[in-house]
Structures are given as structure tokens and as C-alpha cells.
């Protein structure tokens, strides 16, 4: 897919979306761990790095662990500290 280089789609929420000025971003991504993805996102959007350090990462409808694999083409969400209720 030469016109479609491998990417990962990252969704942002609440104050993190506000700090980033956007609700999602796509980054080039050929695969790696959740920990790798954190570094990539922090480098791409330094404005959200502080909140990112306190955040969890979700793959689909479950929370992910640092060494979980994130495939190329995955949908990932960053979950900053929650405040529901």
C-alpha cells in the first residue's frame, strides 16, 4: 500500500484534547509496544507530555499494559486521569 503508509490513530479526550487542540492524530507506525507508542506521541505533541505521563492507554475497549503490542493500523486512546461520577 504505497499510498497508505502504516499508521496508528490516537484519540484524545477532555483536557488532553484541549491541550493538543485536536481530538485525534495519526502517526506513522509500523508496530511496537504501548511503551514505544507513548514515546512517539510525547515527541509528536510535547504539549500533552505531562498529562500523558499520568495517563493510561486503551486498545479498543480495554486498558493496555506497557508491553502489549500495538499493531500497525491500530486505534489507540489515551486515557488521562478520570473524573466521572
Amino acid at each position: 500500500m504505497p499510498d497508505n503508509p502504516p499508521r496508528v490513530r490516537v484519540t484524545l479526550f477532555a483536557g488532553m484534547a484541549e491541550a493538543a487542540g485536536r481530538r485525534s492524530l495519526e502517526l506513522p507506525w509500523t508496530g511496537g509496544t504501548v511503551a514505544d507508542l507513548r514515546h512517539r506521541v510525547a515527541a509528536a505533541m510535547p504539549a500533552i507530555a505531562p498529562l500523558l505521563a499520568q495517563s493510561a492507554i486503551a486498545l479498543g475497549d480495554r486498558y493496555a499494559k506497557a508491553d502489549d503490542s500495538v499493531a500497525a493500523g491500530a486505534d489507540v486512546a489515551i486515557i488521562p486521569p478520570v473524573s466521572g461520577g
Partner: protein
């Protein structure tokens, strides 16, 4: 930043409801009714207009909806086992919540009342700690703040990563 304007949208799946309309708190209580249950507890969280001397004109909630739904269902299943409940249910409102309106409702029923109380308190604490829902406080001057972390809730355990 506000979430995109959304038409009325509600998703009820078994005992979990996420909705942009007013919460039906009576329905949450009715959902836990059971012939074996003598004790039924309903908690309703309402938007306060004054919190620690700061006036809030309205609240707004945003969620990672599929994950919030899955987490709520998992917490209800765990509560049912842990407290030997007859039933339990949870509903959370998303979008704008005016002062006095309900943002969250949780109910539990059990043969005796202590388990129903303990389960409802536990569920509320877990919801505030684990479920990906965020609150934005809007003030009369037009400013707003997204809240990340509750000073009354211990931080999420790091078992996710």
C-alpha cells in the same frame, strides 16, 4: 473544547446506561428489584452549583464510550460476585448537566441491607477511579476547566501498565 454537538443518544445494555438525556434514576432502582432482595440502595450524584466557594454554572461530561461501557459492565459483574448481590445497575449522563440534575446513578440489591450499601459505595468509588469519563466545570464568566483526577479519590492503580 466541547465534544461535538450530538443528537440525543442513549445506550442501555443490560444494567449499564450511558445517555445524553436526563437520567431515569427510578429505572436504575427498578432494575435491581428482585424477590430475594430485602435491601435496595440507590446513589444519585447531582451537579452542585457551589463547590468549595467556586460557583459552577453547569457541568459537562465526556467519555470514551466503548471503554466506559465495558468498564462499567465489568465493575457491576465484580460487585455482584464480591457482595453476593441480587442485582446492580449503573447509569452515567454525558454532555451538559445543569445544577441539580443527576450525573450518575448506581443501585444495588441484596438479601440484607449491609451488602447493598457496601456494594453501592464500592461501585461509586471504582467508577470515579476507573471509568474513562471526564468532567468539565463551566463557570459563569465563561471559563471552564476539565478535571483530571479527583482530590477525594486515590489515584488509579498502575496495574494497567
Amino acid at each position: 473544547m466541547h465534544p461535538p454537538a450530538a443528537a440525543f443518544r442513549s445506550r442501555t445494555d443490560g444494567p449499564v446506561t450511558l445517555t445524553r438525556g436526563p437520567l431515569d434514576t427510578a429505572a436504575v432502582l427498578a432494575a435491581v428489584s428482585d424477590p430475594a432482595a430485602g435491601g435496595n440502595v440507590l446513589f444519585v450524584g447531582t451537579a452542585r452549583s457551589v463547590t468549595a466557594d467556586i460557583t459552577t454554572s453547569r457541568l459537562e461530561y465526556e467519555a470514551h464510550e466503548p471503554l466506559a461501557h465495558a468498564m462499567l459492565a465489568a465493575l457491576l459483574a465484580e460487585a455482584r460476585r464480591r457482595f453476593s448481590l441480587a442485582g446492580c445497575a449503573a447509569a452515567h449522563r454525558l454532555g451538559v448537566v445543569e445544577p441539580g440534575e443527576a450525573s450518575v446513578a448506581v443501585a444495588a440489591s441484596a438479601p440484607h441491607r449491609p451488602a447493598a450499601f457496601a456494594a453501592t459505595e464500592w461501585l461509586m468509588a471504582e467508577i470515579k477511579r476507573e471509568v474513562p469519563i471526564w468532567k468539565c466545570e463551566h463557570r459563569p464568566d465563561g471559563s471552564h476547566t476539565w478535571v483530571h483526577g479527583d482530590p477525594n479519590t486515590p489515584p488509579r492503580e498502575t496495574h494497567h501498565e
